[in-house]
């Protein structure tokens, strides 16, 4: 079974530029997550989709970050304009379900991440 795919793997941009990340979840997984992981810290949830609807975006800096999941499969995360503090690894994860009655379906599987450096 193919895992979570992400691209690009690395990105270097100047501050105030824009950047987009792409994620393809595990086939059949309804729930998709975007996390930000700053060096030395655990991942922090940015946004959670259930199919193509947003479940939780409470920690997404909406003045500069946006995300969409068209057709309930692939997703893109965009930053515009980027700041120095956005330098981090952006992880995509997916699960069969999220917040469902079947706890076993909530296990999240992560992609390799996109490493962003803002100069």
């Amino acid at each position: 079974e193919a895992g979570v795919a992400q691209s690009p793997r690395y990105k270097i941009i100047e501050k105030r530029q824009s950047v987009a990340f792409w994620c393809n979840p595990i086939s059949g997984h309804a729930t998709l997550y975007w996390y930000q992981q700053i060096l030395g810290q655990g991942p922090k949830l940015l946004i959670q989709f259930q199919n193509n609807g947003v479940v939780d975006d409470s920690q997404l800096p909406k003045d500069r970050f946006s995300a969409e999941r068209l057709k309930g499969v692939d997703s893109t995360l965009k930053i515009q304009p980027a700041k120095l503090e956005d330098s981090a690894v952006y992880l995509c994860a997916s699960s069969l379900a999220g917040g469902s009655s079947k706890k076993s379906q909530e296990t999240q599987y992560f992609g390799p991440g996109t490493r962003l450096l803002v100069l």
Partner: protein
Amino acid sequence: EDQVTQSPEALRLQEGESSSLNCSYTVSGLRGLFWYRQDPGKGPEFLFTLYSAGEEKEKERLKATLTKKESFLHITAPKPEDSATYLCAVVGSGTYKYIFGTGTRLKVLA
């Protein structure tokens, strides 16, 4: 507020020297506690899920246990290839979202 604290921050072991990593948590209604392994430059790799106090899971040299306040990841006779950062996350019934700790960086020396 749901919270996860992992200790120690870093751990160096000799090959074969067994030890334990700790994950202490505060959460409203634990739905699950998850252990992941993360190698440098890679995404977290799922290891275990624990759902209730007293539960134990094993995989090769790793054994995870759970109490009402904390979880331990026991590493028996570790090998250099066990070197990685081990992350703990909890899900509470209030939010249904993962809250991660900052991880334990494990280095096993040959």
